[in-house]
Each structure stands twice: as structure tokens, then as C-alpha cells.
């Protein structure tokens, strides 16, 4: 069964450093998402991406964050200058099409646990 994969599974970085979190969505999917979960808190939406551009972003997704689909398979989240409060589990998700609208299932990867020291 196809699945979303994410690398690395864990990342430790120093405050102020740049990190890139990588995701490989399911191959025929068209919509891509990043979510994060700070320890003990809700899973929060960060950004959605469709047709090679951001379709929606949350207030959390400020200028320090960027997303890219550099080739036909990878989908990356970059944090330019990490802060302590960026420590969280980051989930990538993808879904296939808009035809089923809001009912379409999003498939999630296993997450990357980011720790900023």
C-alpha cells in the first residue's frame, strides 16, 4: 500500500540554524500539507500546497518557513532560523484530488521530531 514517508525521523539542531524536513507524498496525489504538534498540544495546520504554490497558510507559517516541491516526488519544509518554540513533531500529509472535496482523505507520514536546543 502506498504511504507518505518523511525524513529524518528525528532532528536535533541549534537555535538559529536552518533545517529542512523532507517528505515524499503518495505518487499520484496533488495536494500537500504540513502540520505540527508541539508536545502536549493539538496538531496544528501550517500550510497547504497545490499546483506548485501555497494555497493556504496559518498564522504560524511566518517568513521563517517555506515549502518547496523541488522535483516530482519530494515536498520540503524549511525553517530558516530555528527557535526554541519550533520544537515539535512535524507531519506531512497528501491527498489525491479535489473531486471529493473536503471528504477526501489526507494520508499522513510518520512525522519528524524536531528538537531545537
Amino acid at each position: 500500500e502506498p504511504e507518505v514517508t518523511q525524513t529524518p525521523s528525528h532532528q536535533v539542531t541549534q537555535m538559529g540554524q536552518e533545517v529542512i524536513l523532507r517528505c515524499v507524498p503518495i505518487s499520484n496525489h496533488l495536494y500537500f500539507y504540513w502540520y505540527r504538534q508541539i508536545l502536549g498540544q493539538k496538531v496544528e495546520f501550517l500550510v497547504s500546497f497545490y499546483n506548485n504554490e501555497i494555497s493556504e497558510k496559518s498564522e504560524i507559517f511566518d517568513d521563517q518557513f517555506s515549502v518547496e516541491r523541488p522535483d516530482g516526488s519530494n515536498f520540503t519544509l524549511k525553517i530558516r532560523s530555528t527557535k526554541l518554540e519550533d520544537s515539535a513533531m512535524y507531519f506531512c500529509a497528501s491527498k489525491s484530488s479535489r473531486l471529493a472535496g473536503l471528504q477526501e482523505t489526507q494520508y499522513f507520514g510518520p512525522g519528524t521530531r524536531l528538537l531545537v536546543l
Partner: protein, 116 residues
């Protein structure tokens, strides 16, 4: 705006007994509702989803949920808990007001503990 509230942060049951995880939603639209499960060190897996076709929704591993509009609820149930059901469960609504990007709005999560 859409939101979901999971009424219990932690539920503990004995193996073989029924499971009830409670979720209330708030939505000004006809909502699309989901239950996801997260096992330790695993991704979020879809258990079931409500798509307005039927109010009683059956999912994987014997779970089901009933959409009750009058109570704005979407509680998750299973007749008999198994040890492998121990996990974190999330009630989720798809945000209808976001230009159809379909971002998901999560509840706080309920940790299900299953005792032998």
C-alpha cells in the same frame, strides 16, 4: 469556524469491554468529520470518516462512529477493546471555510489505555 472538542483526554478500559471516545463538533456548514489514530512512533492513520452518506460510519478494526446533528457529536465506539487498540485518537473536522484547501482541524486527542 469549525472546531472539535474531545471530551476526555484519557480513557482507560479493560480488554474485551466497550470503548467510547467522545467528540463534539462546531460547524456552520455540513461538516466532514474524521477519526484518526496514532500508535507510538507511527503516523496518523484514518479510522473512519463521515461523508453525509450515512450517519453510522464503520471503520477499520471494528470501530464505528455515529454522526448526531442534534447533539453535534461524533463519538467513536468499539464493542470490545483489544490490547492493540491502545493509542492516541484524534477527532478531526475538515475546514469548509478555507477555499476548499481542506485543511484539517484537530481535537486535543484522547489517549486510550487498554488493561489486560
Amino acid at each position: 469556524a469549525q472546531s472539535v472538542t474531545q471530551l476526555d483526554s484519557h480513557v482507560s478500559v479493560s480488554e474485551g469491554t466497550p470503548v467510547l471516545l467522545r467528540c463534539n463538533y462546531s460547524s456552520s456548514y455540513s461538516p466532514s468529520l474524521f477519526w484518526y489514530v496514532q500508535h507510538p512512533n507511527k503516523g496518523l492513520q484514518l479510522l473512519l470518516k463521515y461523508t453525509s452518506a450515512a450517519t453510522l460510519v464503520k471503520g477499520i478494526n471494528g470501530f464505528e462512529a455515529e454522526f448526531k446533528k442534534s447533539e453535534t457529536s461524533f463519538h467513536l465506539t468499539k464493542p470490545s477493546a483489544h490490547m492493540s487498540d491502545a493509542a492516541e485518537y484524534f477527532c478531526v473536522v475538515s475546514d469548509a471555510g478555507s477555499g476548499n484547501t481542506g485543511k484539517l482541524i484537530f481535537g486535543q486527542g484522547t489517549t486510550l489505555q487498554v488493561k489486560p
